[in-house]
Amino acid sequence: MEIQSVLPPPPRYPITQITTSPSGQTTGQTVLEMSNVLTHPSGPEYQLSVGEGTYILQDNLHLATPPPHPQDAPIVNSNPLATTPAPPKAGIKLTICITSPRKSSPQLYRVNTSTSTRSNLGTYSIRESEKESRSSNETNSNAATTQLPSSNTSGRTPVFGEDNILLTPVAGKEGVKKKKPKTNLVKSNSQFISRVILHDSLNKRLQEHNPEGMFVFANIDRAYQWLDLSSPAPARAQPLMKILFAKAHMLCHDINSLTKGPNHIDVVMGASTGDIVWFEAYSQKYVRVNKNNIISASAVSQIRWLPGSENLFLASHMDGSLIVYDKERDDAAFIPETNGASTFTQNSFDPDLKPFHINKSVNSKNQKANPVASWKISNHRITDFGFSPDSRHLAVVSEDGSLRIINYLKEQLTDLYPSYYGAFSCVCWSPDGKYVLTGGQDDLVSIWSLAERRIVARCPGHHSWVTAVAFDPWRCDNRNYRFGSVGEDRRLLLWDFNVGMLRRPKAASIRNRASISSNVPIGRHRTESHATSRLRSTSSLDDDGVNADELVEHEVESRTVTAELPPVMSKVIDEHPLSLVGFDEECIVTACVEGHVRVWKRPQDGLSP
């Protein structure tokens, strides 16, 4: 101790300036409202070489991070160990919208050919409008029934909540003029919205907008921007409109592909504070849902319009609940309807251990107010979900490391797949609905087959967690699939997947180490259409899938027996962890957590493989 008293006490919580936080906020004195910066860097490091040619970086748009809200002045917090929970953050997410209902894009796959899929960037639903999907229904449902034993065999895609008379729209939807929200964004004096900045020549730019061109909605920090990426260069960087929220950080958003048109875009967005905003872009009007967290106080991690619905959308909250809201309905304080309200509640009386707990069924008699339906599926954060192209299923991934396939029309959980290890962070459906991709904290992209109800392949190649996955419908046909993935490692990886070409690992050549689900011989997985693993329910599965709606909890397949797929391209494309990848007819779009949106032009020499 004598020595101690001589020595100066060491710096225990050292004082150093670190300028950037993960959200890109400079913690210094940047008070200026920055504007977006558009650059066009070139060189070999801005090119992606794949079999079909070279993708070249066309635009590098750096979205400006807004300064902190004046009331929200940063508080000194020197302590790196501060236990006060920080609000959840998400990287930049983009919703891309092309307003014109274009003719079919040069897709190579047959299903859904009548559907324009341009808008599936950022949204996973392929369908553009109900009309179109109905026309393609024959193929669609045929495919679906063969793939998904649980699918209804009727030729028409059922609509969510159609059995509940209380949910049928008051007027026929065809003729009705699209409804707009009530409150004007610009004139609003809500505490919720800090400021709205409209482009000086907004109307002119909107008139000049090519309906084939790409609108992009992007969230960054507390700002939400509406961009027109098809406009000429200098103006392209400037948002048509920018909304600055006071406290809420938008984490996710989606446009309604059914109602969108040349002068109407319905956007719904979910915030870190749990707030939800329905916003119509052209009229700049909005409505708040879940105001004051009356329904859920938990942050919204993902939000999507229900396929084929003008009004309903589904939000996943970070407390592990999925809630269907109606944009037209008022909110009411929500008390879980525990008993009897739902005819679909599974027989067990124990509400807590059930992996899919219906807090409010869509068939509830009480449909005067939001929520329309509410399901609790996990105690962990739901990270992402996606609707199947046939509008019957929902794939939900969560931090508890499970992929859940939910028949949301019937409000039933059918499959529960575990990750290899760690949380899942993203999910998407193949354009034909046969496969689901997931990415997660095991650094893997995993391919799951819905028809075979098992994992098809694991895709190692990322050097860190995978944050987003997407199919490239322009390079998919009924046998070959192209998809891309991005991760915390700042890499974009492209993959070509062909079921027939999958290589099995050397397998159990040394000795039979079996899969982790040791009780089942591995070989049987392959041949049977339903999973062979442990069933939670006591009833057995028939081969014709009568009981296919029973929940099947799948086991982890051992690394030694699961096929692995190598990437066809892997490249570090940004200085920061990436948060989004999407495909469009002419380009690949990526975004990073610091606000860099990059547009990679497809190879010039045509699209044929």
Partner: protein, 729 residues
Amino acid sequence: MSSFFSRIRSGGGTSSPLAGSSPAKKDPNALQITPLEKYLLDVPLGPSQDNGSDKFWGLENFGNTCYCNSILQCLYYSVPFREQVINYPKRSPLDSVTTTSTGQARIDPDAVILPPNHPSLTSAKLMKQQPVQNSARNPGGPPATPKPEDKEHPDFKKRVAQARGPTLSMDYDNAAAYGMPESLFTSLKDIFEALLAHKSNVGVVSPTKFLEVLRRENEMFRSAMHQDAHEFLNLLLNEVVANVEVHSKKLEEEKGMNGHAEKTGFEKSLASAMLKTTPSTTGWVHELFEGTLTSETKCLTCENVSQRDEAFLDLSVDLDEHSSVTACLRKFSEEEMLCERNKFHCDRCGGLQEAEKRMKIKRLPKILALHLKRFKYTEDLQRLQKLFHRVVYPYHLRLFNTTDDAEDPDRLYELYAVVVHIGGGPYHGHYISIVKTEERGWLLFDDEMVEPVDRSYVQNFFGDRPGLACAYVLFYQETTLEAVKREQDAESLAAAAKAVVEIPKEPVGLGLKTNGFMNGIQHVKSAVTPTSDEDTNGYVSLDKAVTEPPPHAQIAASSSEVTALPQMPSRTPNEETKSKKERLKEEKERKAVAKITARQEEKAERERLKNLEVKRKEVSKKADADTKAAMQASKASKAEEDHRDAAENVNKDGAAASASASVPLPTGGLGRFKSSSKSFRNSKLWGGSRDSNKDEPFAEENGAEATTPLDRSKNRFSNLRKKTSNMML
């Protein structure tokens, strides 16, 4: 040195000016109760555990001893490790903890050990300490209110923890009672046993003896300078291995001599007690932490592939920017070229050749300690530098870099402890640990302070955040998907229960809380305070419990020692409280509606929860018993083996001699481990007498290993250390 350590400090003694007076209006105790205590009060612990899992003690920092504290906490909550430390050596029930061997053991469970207040406690934090007093000793009187300062600051929290006590001063050793010479192991065991025996669930341990032994025996740690926590972990594990092996060796000798030599009654009974319970569990450190790496070296000249196995107690992985632990491990097993100065001596071509080498994991350890090499030597600067790469770590892990013949290559690991280094460089800074405890989930251990934290808090230390705090050592333990699922189910149950129980805080709650705390701190287990109407969310409570609203700006300004620190954006307190109020109001209204149902539900819920919990415990106990039985069986067989060995080694005299010359010792655990699948072949090969070679079937191939077995084993364990030590200089 020892006199320096025998000076113990107590938190108590200073009588406060307010002592004895009736509690002030603004109850200062509200400031005093630590978030952990509140958590323990809100969600009372079950019946006291005899395995130590319900003890949450801080460790006193004696100036830069945080490297030690953080590692000790991780090891304490490594359940099998703690159990083994406590159970080794096996002792008869007579040798309870209270045995006074040196006349100093004072672990009277009731006594809060409060040596006379020592005025000079040197470090600056203690100088600031006078206003707070040990209320555990003086439960009636509220302590003086400390001058307003940042209550979120760790130093403040530590002082509170220290002041609240009880303080357990570990300045004695019980080594003789264990029949062992004083060593790091015995002093570690002393600490664990003292914690187990103590009635309080919380408190502060002063590990003076442990540090004394550490510094006496290891020059490296003698200075009061900042030390490397990973170095310390490695040293400690190796020391524990050595201590235990020396001891069991001695036991074997005694056993051998048992018939002949006369002994004092005490020794005899001790020895027989140990014999009865099969003493040779020496392999347990190996069994827990040790894995095997296979390094395959392919000579590029003759294409000959040679394999060599080496044991590891932890893995040190290089870091890449923006990578994950998974990727770092993959990289660890990537092919490496041995060329230029690093050429490989090929036995077949005879001479130094270029070669390709790759290391894969052949046997997966039960506890995987991963050391992230954050301190890297940079040529330019001629010194070590800390890497602030963002390296993400998942809560669960499997290893991709296993050999094709590895047993259970898909073994699932679960993250249960993280040692975090805070600071700009390798030569200074601070270590803390975040540990998942069986009873209370994730806790933050920062020297004296223990605080419950959210699960997501664990992933705050990837390295890219402001504040310079980075994960440095990660502890993963083996688990199964079923166990993970069970835990998740339990969590959602708890959450459901919480949702039902949660009722908005009322002013009444404050009084209750204080009362509960006043009784509760002394005997938390018995004080079943009516907690159902309190918020279970422990850590937000501190600032809520404060009745005088502390203007945040003021606090920020008044935290005098923290100046010019990087600012982190956060919410304005006013807004926050406002919205909280709103929310509370709403919640109240809602609750009023649901109150009646909630009450009933709550009852049923709790009942059910309890039943479930009991069931779960039964199951796990049963599983425990099973494994124990299995272990007993294996121990028995090992005992036989050891007996034979011992008989051959009777002549070796003295502990020191046996340490240097003993043949089978260092590998006892290893050899036994392999015995399940491979020893069969090995024992045929080597026979019983030379079983030191058992574990190294490939050693012969390399020829370079003509050292004595002990040396070899030492090398083996230091192997990985070398990698780090050349970087640590």
